[in-house]
C-alpha cells in the first residue's frame, strides 16, 4: 500500500471518525460519518458524510474548501475509515455523493487516481444516470457512488 493517510480517531460506535488535515492553512479537523440510510434486499446502506469542523462555531460543514494542499492524503484517510467501517459493518454498502457536482467530481477524481488500490478492497459502482448503476471506470462521469467491500481483503 503506497498511499499515505493521517492517523484518525474513531467513536466506539465505529460510525464516526475524526482526523486533522495539516497544510498551509493550518490544522483543520475533518469528520467522517457513516449514516444509516435504508436496507435494500437485506443489505444495509450507509451514507458517507464528510465535512470540516468550523473552528469558530464548532459546527460541521461540508461546503468549505479548505485547500490545504493535502487532498490525496485526505482521500486516503477517508478510504481507510471506509475499510474500518466495513470491517465492523460487514456486508453493508457505502453511498457517497458530493454536496454539489464539483465535490462529486472531486470524489470521482480521487477514486480514479487510486482506483487500483481502492478496487482491491471495494467494488465501486457509479450512478451513470438516474437508475443506471455501472461498475466504476476511469474517464466516466457519475452522479454518486456505491462501495461494497470485497470479502477477501484484509485490513492489517
Amino acid at each position: 500500500m503506497l498511499l499515505e493517510r493521517y492517523g484518525y480517531r474513531v467513536s466506539d460506535s465505529y460510525q464516526q471518525y475524526e482526523f486533522e488535515s495539516a497544510g498551509p492553512k493550518g490544522i483543520i479537523t475533518k469528520v467522517v460519518l457513516y449514516q444509516y440510510m435504508r436496507t435494500v434486499d437485506y443489505v444495509d446502506h450507509y451514507n458517507l458524510f464528510f465535512g470540516d469542523v468550523n473552528q469558530l462555531t464548532g459546527k460541521l460543514s461540508d461546503l468549505s474548501v479548505s485547500n490545504n494542499k493535502d487532498r490525496n492524503k485526505i482521500l486516503a484517510t477517508v478510504a481507510a475509515t471506509a475499510l474500518e467501517f466495513s470491517d465492523r459493518f460487514s456486508g453493508c454498502r457505502i453511498y457517497a455523493r458530493g454536496s454539489d457536482p464539483i465535490r462529486t467530481r472531486l470524489y470521482q477524481m480521487g477514486i480514479a487516481a487510486h482506483f487500483d488500490e481502492i478496487n482491491t478492497h471495494f467494488l465501486i459502482r457509479g450512478e451513470y444516470s438516474e437508475r443506471r448503476w455501472v461498475r466504476f471506470r476511469t474517464g466516466q462521469n457519475y452522479r454518486a457512488f456505491l462501495a461494497t467491500r470485497r470479502i477477501n481483503t484484509i485490513f492489517n
Binding site: V40, E84, W133
Partner: protein, 59 residues
C-alpha cells in the same frame, strides 16, 4: 498491529492506508450524528438514493 496511543490533535504522522496503526478509539468524541447539518445531508442522500435502484440496474 500497532496503535497510536497518543491521540493528540495535530499529530501529523502518516500511515499506510490499510495499516491499523494510528487509529485511536475515542469514546469521548463529540457525537455529530444529530447535528442538523448532518441530518439535512442524510435526508438529501436518502432522497437521492431513493431515486435509484442499484440492485436491479447493475450492468
Amino acid at each position: 498491529m500497532s496503535a497510536n496511543l497518543n491521540p493528540e490533535k495535530g499529530n501529523q504522522k502518516t500511515y499506510a492506508i490499510s495499516d491499523r496503526a494510528g487509529i485511536t478509539i475515542d469514546p469521548s468524541m463529540k457525537d455529530y450524528s444529530n447535528d442538523p447539518f448532518c441530518l439535512q445531508q442524510l435526508a438529501e442522500a436518502r432522497r437521492s438514493f431513493s431515486k435509484s435502484d442499484p440492485d436491479k440496474k447493475e450492468n
